[in-house]
């Protein structure tokens, strides 16, 4: 943890310098005006002492399940206590609803937790730009704070395996995932064209994680054809857990928190191979025209602060996005951010967004052939 604290001092120093230099700038003074404090303390304040909003209600939409329950406990409840604000929660975060609300000029959602396949500049006309006078971008993992969205957590799409089915052998990489001679049995994969299936096929075929994009779809589908008859497609995270626990599949492409639950909550012989994980995020966005935009930005800023961002990691093994967040030490080994190395891959969400239709069509064509 030494290097981290040194980094944190450096970053605060840099932040102060920047503040000092731009103190008279218009964007900074806007923040100052709204929070009623000086520039540098405004940022510090929102983390520990966010502005009160008694009697106000904002709507928070996420995808439900254990993840939203954890968000509620880690962020919504403490923030409500600190500020007096009330949250109305929706367990549906469907992108078409965001578009429909904005198109109709009837925006009911203030903060929406979306997947990595939404909220890049392609969706600009549906979203408010994130207020980076409140959110400290410099403390967040590089690439996870964009114009219209900021990541809340990180998770890994990992290779998880049933140790009984592998007879105690450890699959080392996605290449082993595609090797049904060495590791007999079926393979679980997410039935979603932009969920990582093409990416793991390319990595198994020898493409370096940093060279994945633009995806060579012909090469990916050719590689996928080699194990197509052994693939079992899952539609939900719960289903991936069931497939792996029951031994219906030997290995599965899986979200790390689900694999963790299979092992630690259900006590099944499930392990994670972190090598080649695809590290990605759930993002917070504010639909364009949200009547509570400022309150929404305050909340987003607060939950990405180093003091608060790690709260969620103490409940479920999703990694923080703030580099200086401090989840409990006991949680560290299970967080995807603790296993980042040269083998780690990242989605190119912009490329995926620009090619969504092509990917979907290619996927359907390959799958139904």
């Amino acid at each position: 943890m030494k290097p981290v604290s040194r980094l944190s001092i450096v970053s605060i120093a840099v932040g102060l310098v920047i503040t000092a230099c731009t103190g008279g700038g218009s964007s900074q003074s806007a923040a100052t005006a709204s929070s009623g404090a000086s520039g540098s303390t405004a940022v510090a304040d929102i983390c520990t002492n966010p502005p009160r909003a008694d009697g106000k209600t904002i709507t928070f939409a996420a995808s439900g399940g254990s993840y939203q329950a954890a968000e509620d406990k880690a962020w919504l409840q403490p923030y409500a206590k600190l500020t007096g604000i009330q949250f109305q929660e929706s367990e549906v975060n469907a992108y078409p609803q965001i578009k429909a609300q904005v198109d109709a000029g009837q925006v009911n959602w203030d903060v929406v937790d979306v997947g990595n396949d939404f909220g890049t500049d392609i969706d600009a006309k549906y979203l408010e730009p994130i207020d980076y006078t409140k959110v400290h971008k410099d403390e967040l993992l590089a690439g996870f704070a964009n114009t219209y969205r900021v990541a809340a957590i990180t998770y890994g799409t990992v290779l998880a395996y049933n140790t009984t089915k592998t007879n105690g052998q450890v699959p080392q990489s996605w290449a082993d995932f595609f090797d049904t001679t060495k590791f007999p049995g079926k393979r679980g994969v997410w039935d979603y064209s932009t969920g990582g299936l093409f990416e793991i096929a390319l990595m198994a075929d020898g493409v370096a994680p940093k060279n994945l994009y633009p995806l060579d779809l012909a090469r990916a589908t050719k590689k996928l054809d080699t194990i197509k008859k052994d693939l079992v497609f899952w539609q939900s995270g719960a289903q991936s857990v069931d497939l792996l626990e029951s031994g219906e599949v030997t290995m599965s492409m899986m979200w790390n928190n689900r694999a963790y639950a299979a092992k630690n909550a259900d006590h099944k012989p499930v392990e994670i191979q972190w090598n080649g994980q695809i590290l990605t995020s759930d993002y917070m966005v504010v639909p364009k025209g949200s009547p509570n935009k400022d309150l929404a930005m305050n909340f987003i800023a607060w939950l990405t602060c180093k003091e608060n961002n790690g709260n969620l990691s103490n409940i479920i093994p999703n990694g923080p996005v703030n580099k200086f967040a401090k989840p409990d030490a006991s949680r560290i080994p299970d967080l995807p951010t603790s296993h980042v190395d040269a083998s780690t891959a990242y989605f190119d969400d912009v490329w995926l967004g620009q090619n969504a239709k092509l990917l979907d069509d290619t996927y359907a064509a390959w799958k139904t052939k």
Binding site: Y95, K357, T368
Partner: protein, 290 residues
């Protein structure tokens, strides 16, 4: 005078249809028109022009393949449901009344539970590590799991179980209309039981069979969760691509175009069917029963 009063009374009752019509207009016809409109106005990507979404459909062989598969699966379901449902309904008409009630409940009870729950239950039964294969493997009858799940067989099993009531009920309704005296008369005239059934009862019950087939076929066209959970990748249905377009890509234009195409093709099938079936007979007989 009497005739006028009758006409007025009729008109008064006819007003009851207004809420239904209003509901249908606001919540079905208008949205349907909007979908049709969006399929030509919401055009994403480089290809422009108001027919781009349709050009896309016919330009990519995957959509036609999936549409073809959708109709194939729906047709298979219809044939299987007819094969299972017709004898079942016939049995209901010949057993004593209280057994008929019991048989009806047996058909209806699964109808009241969620198709999703039943599909997951089929998974537990059918999969390689499931109940059936587990038993067969343990008893030594097989050494490798028998492919039950992720096959067309799995899809048909799961779908037919959900759809069977839609066949049994209309068939039973029509069969009960058939006067038992007719078959007795046929027997009096020297027909054996089989001939009496084939020449008299079967033709009279055909409208029910056609009505049931129509219901099963049309409802089956919209399935996608059950095929996704129990079928092979090749069993993908068109609704699954519609869901992808809307939910995953939020591409209303492409999704709407797919919906319109499915609707139009279904209507064409129904129009062709209406040439073969006299709908008035079918629904006339249903109306008196349901």
């Amino acid at each position: 005078m009497g005739r006028l009063r009758l006409a007025l009374r009729f008109n008064g009752w006819a007003l009851l249809v207004v809420p239904g019509l209003a509901f249908l207009s606001v919540f079905f016809l208008v949205p349907l028109a909007v979908i049709g409109l969006r399929s030509v106005t919401d055009v994403e990507g480089p290809s422009s022009g108001w027919l781009a979404n349709y050009a896309d459909f016919f330009g990519t062989d995957v959509y036609l393949r999936v549409l073809g598969n959708t109709f194939w699966i729906a047709a298979l379901c219809t044939v299987i449901c007819a094969g299972l449902g017709y004898p079942y309904a016939y049995l209901m008409t010949i057993v004593p009344q209280r057994f008929a009630g019991l048989l009806l409940i047996v058909v209806l009870v699964p109808f009241w539970s969620s198709p999703l729950v039943r599909t997951y239950a089929w998974q537990v039964l059918l999969r390689d590590t499931g109940v059936i294969n587990g038993f067969l493997l343990k008893s030594g009858l097989i050494s490798e799991p028998f492919p039950l799940i992720r096959t067309t067989f799995g899809v048909l099993l799961g779908m037919c179980q959900i759809l069977l009531p839609l066949m049994v009920l209309p068939v039973y309704a029509v069969m009960r209309q058939v006067d038992p005296e007719y078959t007795k008369a046929a027997a009096n005239l020297g027909a054996g039981p089989f001939t009496a059934f084939r020449r008299v009862f079967l033709p009279l019950s055909i409208p029910g069979l056609l009505a049931g087939s129509l219901l099963v076929f049309v409802v089956a066209l919209g399935f996608y969760i059950t095929p996704a959970l129990l079928g092979s990748p090749q069993n993908t249905m068109i609704s699954s691509l519609i869901a992808n377009a809307i939910q995953q890509r939020a591409d209303f234009g492409a999704g709407s175009a797919l919906g319109v195409i499915l609707l139009v093709v279904t209507l064409v099938v129904l129009i062709v069917a209406s040439r073969l079936i006299r709908f008035r007979d079918v629904f006339g007989s249903l109306e008196s029963e349901l």
